[in-house]
């Protein structure tokens, strides 16, 4: 009896332990101040990957373990995400970097809808990021809208703009589409640079930082006896938004929408002859994806309080696209990892400033050679979860029926 109980505990405990180890590596990577930690961790992770590659059975066993204890896995992940500000209590700088990675996760998830799911190469990501940021900034400065309103407004305006900008692009595909979006990117930045109402090259200054109902996010966060840097406020809010966006993206992937987009990406002719209105769906994903990018941009302007055109340069668009390509096309998990990696790595390499981008570039090339389809490649869609849900539903009495019964009796 006791033995069985111990055995049933073993699974969840080892899942949590594994998660804690991975998380520990991640935190150590950030907080240990020497550059050699990267080499040490790369060697360690490389060794583990090599081991799993040579002995696939143990990798499979880990996979099975995680599948068997899905709830524990998620509880562990949520707890670890929530504890991050405590680990970073004395290094707000890294907390800020993680927040930036979170912003890029949201934006990259938006771009993924276009680039990964539908196959539309959009290299104007930073432009829509800028549209979101400037919308929020201008609304807050000129009409003193509260941040909880300007952030959604930034998303909506970015979405509306993309519907307008869709007109010149809907007939182009592939490389031509990429060229048109590059032009868009430059147009937006040049406009921002030259208009008076956007502040020109000086940009917008003194945008109020996020606050809600009188609670200012610039005060240090106190939890009991602990005092966390004020970035912890932003961190928790951002985690909330990013989680919502990730859930939306995952649900879209696991639905008719995701299926339709995949078919458009892989074979437009098949999509058309199966009754898919390709133009309508392309416009929908273009607008929705840019909404998410705009959302991230709007949040950014209330996080930093200052925005100017160079922040939204073409490089940022390329960075976004690299996150999607390197993380894994059409894979929400992959995007999150890609964003963390591509934002944190260059910051970590800042110490050796002269060789920073050289090493960064080498790492990218090596990774694309080893995993040409990204860290987490596209997974075959499996509707089993949904079908299981439908089966369960049949057994359950809907709550409306229960209400009716009560009313009757």
């Amino acid at each position: 009896m006791a033995k069985e109980k111990r055995k049933s505990l073993m699974g969840p405990v080892s899942v949590l332990a594994l998660e804690a180890i991975v998380y520990g590596l991640f935190v150590a990577l950030l907080l240990v101040p020497t550059i050699w930690i990267i080499a040490a961790e790369v060697a360690l992770v490389g060794g583990i990957v090599f081991y799993l590659w040579r002995r696939p059975s143990s990798g499979k066993r880990i996979g099975e373990l995680f599948n068997a204890h899905k709830k524990t896995v998620w509880v562990g992940i949520i707890v670890l995400i929530l504890t991050t500000p405590f680990c970073m209590a004395y290094s707000p700088y890294w907390l800020f970097i993680i927040i930036t990675a979170g912003l890029f996760t949201i934006a990259a998830l938006g771009l993924n809808l276009q680039l990964g799911s539908t196959g539309m190469v959009n290299l104007a990501g930073a432009a829509f990021y800028a549209i979101g940021a400037y919308t929020a900034g201008l609304l807050a400065l000129n009409w003193s809208w509260p941040p909880w309103l300007t952030i959604p407004a930034g998303a909506v305006v970015a979405g509306l703009f993309s519907i307008l900008l869709f007109i010149p692009i809907f007939k182009t595909t592939g490389s031509y589409l990429a060229l048109v979006t590059i032009a868009l990117q430059f147009m937006v930045v040049i406009l921002l640079d030259n208009q008076e109402w956007t502040g020109g090259p000086q940009g917008l200054r003194n945008i109020p930082l996020f606050s809600i109902g009188g609670y200012s996010f610039t005060a240090n966060l106190r939890i009991g006896p602990l005092e966390l840097p004020f970035y912890a406020n932003f961190y928790y809010l951002l985690v909330l938004i990013a989680a919502a966006v990730a859930i939306v993206c995952h649900r879209l992937y696991q639905s008719w929408v995701g299926l339709t987009l995949s078919i458009i990406r892989d074979d437009e002719i098949v999509a058309k002859t199966s009754g898919v209105s390709v133009v309508r769906w392309k416009m929908t994903t273009f607008a929705l994806g840019n909404c998410f990018i705009g959302l991230a941009g709007a949040f950014y302007s209330h996080l930093v309080g200052f925005i100017s055109p160079p922040t939204f340069s073409f490089e940022r668009s390329l960075l976004l696209a690299s996150i999607v390509i390197l993380g894994g096309m059409d894979n929400v998990m992959g995007i999150i990892f890609g964003a963390l990696l591509l934002i944190i790595l260059p910051e970590k390499l800042r110490v050796i400033s002269d060789y920073r981008f050289l090493i960064y570039g080498i790492v990218l090339v090596i990774m694309l050679i080893l995993r040409p389809k990204g860290l987490f490649p596209f997974k075959v869609r499996d509707f089993a979860d949904l079908v299981g849900m439908a089966r369960k539903k049949k057994g359950k009495v809907p709550w409306t029926r229960i209400l009716q019964r009560r009313v009757r009796s």
């Binding site: 939306v248 649900r251 879209l252 696991q254 639905s255 008719w256 929408v257 299926l259 339709t260 995949s262 078919i263 892989d266 074979d267 002719i269 098949v270 999509a271 058309k272 002859t273 199966s274 009754g275 898919v276 209105s277 390709v278 929908t284 929705l288 596209f378 075959v380 869609r381 499996d382 509707f383 089993a384 949904l386 079908v387 849900m389 439908a390 089966r391 539903k393």
Partner: protein, 274 residues
């Protein structure tokens, strides 16, 4: 010479009048090249019509016109009395014309099931908001449609049912064709266009494929079908009526036996007798 042989046939009572699909002087030219020239034809309910002709005679172009991928330069075509001229491909598909392709067009990275489910795209009811907020509604819809697709698989090849979640790239050629036919059938079209379904198959596979096509006919209460084929054995065994094209013109029509004796067709395939 009679420019509209099918109209003449109708008067003589040779062609059935309860037609589901017909064309009226359908033509298309690319620059100076006339690929399809004033073709008149019709398909009656439940009929399997064979479309034959040498390479480059405009058969696939004809399919591309009636699925809306090309716009005809002249003429019109009708499904159940409605003109489909100028309608975009997805609208034509929604009206009920489904097709397969000469070169198998499956999305090889997607699962077999995904490839088939797109066939019923426009009948789905849960879109953006439902898939985010009302998962239960989406779930019951997915379960229903999936069951329907699996039923089609059972008709063709029971093995497909077990492998439905695997990437389509793992399938052999004959199963890829079958999956493509399932995709076209899932939306319950009124007219099914099969573009050289037996291309690249060995005789046994062709035999199986013919059996499959007859099975569909049985399962769907006789769906109207146009089939392009180079293999005359296939044509002979499953079609009731054959139309032959050459250089985009209709050169012969009738039962296979009659058409195969047609001197003009023999010349088109084999060259002039010396």
């Amino acid at each position: 010479m009679d420019t509209n042989p099918s109209a003449a046939g109708e008067i003589l009572g040779l062609v059935p009048v309860d037609r589901v699909f017909w064309t009226d002087n359908l033509s298309i030219s690319f620059g100076g090249l006339v690929a399809v020239e004033r073709v008149n034809m019709q398909v009656s309910y439940g009929e399997i019509l064979g479309l034959i002709g040498p390479n480059g005679s405009g058969k696939t172009t004809f399919f591309n016109i009636i699925t809306g991928l090309y716009t005809p330069s002249e003429g019109d075509f009708f499904l159940e009395g409605d003109s489909l001229l100028g309608k975009p491909p997805h609208m034509i598909a929604r009206k009920g014309i489904a097709r397969t392709f000469q070169m198998s067009r499956l999305c090889l990275d997607l699962s077999i099931l995904d490839n088939v489910l797109i066939g019923i795209h426009y009948r789905q009811k849960s879109w953006l908001l439902d898939s985010i907020l009302r998962r239960r509604r989406l779930a019951s819809e997915v379960a229903g449609v999936r069951e329907k697709a699996l039923q089609l698989f059972r008709v063709f090849n029971k093995e497909l049912v077990d492998h439905a979640g695997e990437p389509a790239g793992s399938l052999p050629l004959i199963d890829r064709r079958r999956v493509e036919i399932c995709r076209a059938m899932l939306g319950e079209p009124k007219l099914l266009l099969l573009d050289e379904p037996s291309a690249g198959m060995n005789p046994e596979e062709k035999e199986e494929l013919m059996k499959d096509i007859r099975t569909i006919q049985g399962a769907s209460n006789g769906i109207s079908t146009i089939i392009i084929e180079h293999d005359m054995a296939v044509i002979k065994s499953i079609t009731e009526r054959v139309i032959a094209l050459n250089y985009g013109c209709r050169i012969a029509e009738g039962t296979f036996d009659k058409v195969s004796r047609d001197p003009e067709l023999r010349e088109a395939y084999l060259g002039k007798q010396v």
